[in-house]
Subunit: 146 residues, 2 copies
DNA sequence: CAGATATTGGGTATCATTCTCACTGCATGG
DNA sequence: CCATGCAGTGAGAATGATACCCAATATCTG
């Protein structure tokens, strides 16, 4: 995980590239995502930062997504989940509880991940795709929902 | 891919287990999904089977999903995609165009897939999860959107 | 400080999906 | 062979997450 000051700088840079300011509201979102123990939904984010306005939070999450600061996860549940972009943290995958919607981060060992990457590139190329990233989601039941 | 008559029987069985009838509308959905060249959205399904009513199609897709006949894919686009359950076809993954929303099926080679399965089980177990299935999505740009 | 531009937030609009409900049709038992 | 009951249908309305609008503010630049 990147140190806070370094994260701040990185976010600031990416926003600047997109002519966006790093305002208090946006900082609150980034801090909220950083502090969270895994991807969070918008209501969860608002709970942890009560001063955020819903409309601004949605708008800023969208802008932060475009700027490459935030990643949006869309699963089957009612709300999308948001997390800091992998380029600001590290490549990882998700363990998703089909009952309560909980999302936890997991990482594959480096070697397997590299093998996968290579296989994915080959597959994509065969179909004429150029891939930007991939996701691996493991669905099941968490320890409390079991 | 399972032969049509076999598919029909399998679908019929699963519906029966859930006290559901295999009606004309449901058959049209299954045929539409089978005929499609990859996962389709509801509007696409309605286009290919114009007699389907939207409300019934949504309702029946939901019921077919519960019965394990249909899988719903939720990505970032405007519509969910639907496809026949993997237990009726074969395990595969998805190549998703971030520009036009096109979804294509791809399969990993058996050996790699088995390695992955094992790794996933270990990961999930370590977090107290019991996994039911996994998805691998490759995001990028298709040949026409590039 | 002025002017230009970005941001905010409350309210409202959108639109995919789900729900409601009156109606239809199929199956079973007498 | 009809009556009864329940599953299925479809048109429209309701729902709800998310996006949009716009007037009021805040921030930068020179």
């Amino acid at each position: 995980m990147v140190a806070t000051s370094e994260l701040e700088r990185a976010v600031n840079d990416r926003l600047a590239e997109h002519d966006l300011r790093y305002t208090a509201g946006r900082r609150a979102i980034v801090e909220g995502l950083k502090a969270a123990d895994g991807p969070v939904t918008l209501p969860e984010l608002l709970d942890s930062s009560p001063d955020l306005a819903q409309s601004s939070a949605y708008r800023n999450l969208g802008l932060l997504e475009e700027a490459g600061v935030v990643r949006r996860l869309v699963h089957g549940g009612e709300h999308a989940h948001f997390e800091l972009s992998e380029s600001l943290t590290e490549h990882h995958h998700h363990l998703i509880c089909e009952s309560c919607g909980l999302v936890r981060d997991v990482t594959l060992e480096t070697k397997l991940e590299r093998t996968l990457d290579k296989a994915f590139d080959t597959l994509a190329e065969a179909e004429g795709f150029v891939t930007t990233h991939h996701t691996v989601d493991l669905y099941g039941l968490c320890s409390t929902c079991r």
